[in-house]
């Protein structure tokens, strides 16, 4: 049976392993095509940051484009659920809640989620709503204060 490792040796090896991961991480930062951003990205055209959306919040109608399950778990207070798959079942409730000239803010699960853009396009093309925005970062929003 091999001799048990000393505490010092174990810690030395542990520290060496922690250091060993630094070099490939640095190479990734330099060369990886999907390296993460080092600063918060500016909101793409047609989208609002969380802070910008707060300025519209009292007057705006919030639309949640995620699934009904995600909506039930949590959503922006006062938002209405309108997932693309349930468009026909839920659009009437949205139209009843919408006031003329009221801005609409649509969100889904994050920047990689396309549902909010799909719902925003349908609201604009099919219903001709005048002011529609998409929330950058989705919900839960990284810029929103933790509950």
């Amino acid at each position: 049976m091999p001799a048990p490792a000393s505490c010092r040796r174990t810690c030395t090896v542990a520290f060496a392993l922690l250091l060993a991961a630094v070099a490939p991480a640095l190479l990734s930062a330099w060369l990886h095509p999907h390296a993460p951003s080092w600063s918060a990205p500016a909101a793409p055209a047609g989208t609002l940051t969380w802070q910008q959306a707060q300025a519209l919040r009292p007057a705006a109608l919030w639309i949640d484009a995620r699934s009904a399950d995600d909506f039930a778990r949590s959503h922006v207070p006062g938002a209405l659920s309108l997932p693309p798959a349930d468009w026909d079942a839920r659009i009437l409730a949205v139209l009843e809640a919408w006031q003329p000239d009221q801005p609409v803010i649509v969100y889904c699960g994050g920047n990689d989620c396309q549902a909010s853009h799909a719902v925003a396009l349908r609201l604009r093309d099919e219903l001709a709503l005048p002011e529609i925005h998409v929330l950058a970062g989705g919900w839960p929003n990284p810029s929103a204060p933790a509950p």
Partner: protein, 168 residues
């Protein structure tokens, strides 16, 4: 505990680490977004973690299977998964909905309890193997009772000579 069982646990931990590390190393930008979802760190810190953690997991996976390095690898693995489990406790208490990204991709919503269990089990396994396989690591005070190599070697040689005084 049988050596084969200990090896099986180390192998299982290595497989988990390789799987998690490979998936995240392919898209660190997505992993950074998942880290930001926990609302604990800033964007630069999330970027550092997203670049470093996957490679650490891969290094640990390899080291777990190398005898000279496995004690250190077990220690870091146990600490890493313990930190993840603590993170899930904090996330659950704050009531934050997150997408784990633990195994790559944006994934779907991860309940805090599920995330906690997925971190707790490997943590317990790593601590268990570390304690059994490397008892001096688990009981550092035992080092005080173990003579140094030099004196231990002299004591062993002297016991072979009946004329020598007994070792202390």
């Amino acid at each position: 505990m049988k050596p084969r069982l200990l090896f099986a646990i180390r192998l299982a931990l290595a497989v988990i680490l390789v799987w998690a590390g490979l998936l995240k190393v392919l898209d660190p930008a997505a992993f950074a977004q998942n880290i930001l979802g926990f609302r604990l760190v800033s964007v630069p810190v999330a970027a550092v973690l997203a670049l470093y953690l996957p490679w650490l997991e891969l290094v640990l996976a390899a080291a777990l299977l190398i005898p000279r390095w496995r004690s250190g690898a077990l220690l870091v693995t146990a600490l890493l998964f313990t930190a993840f489990a603590a993170l899930w406790i904090v996330t659950g208490l704050r009531g934050i909905d997150v997408t784990c990204g633990c195994f790559g991709g944006t994934g779907s919503h991860t309940p805090a309890a599920q995330g906690f269990l997925r971190a707790l089990l490997p943590a317990l396994a790593a601590w268990l193997v570390l304690r059994i396989d490397h008892p001096l690591t688990a009981h550092p005070t035992a080092l005080a009772k173990v003579p140094s190599r030099k004196t231990a070697g002299i004591a062993v040689r002297n016991t072979a000579d009946p004329r020598s005084p007994p070792p202390h």
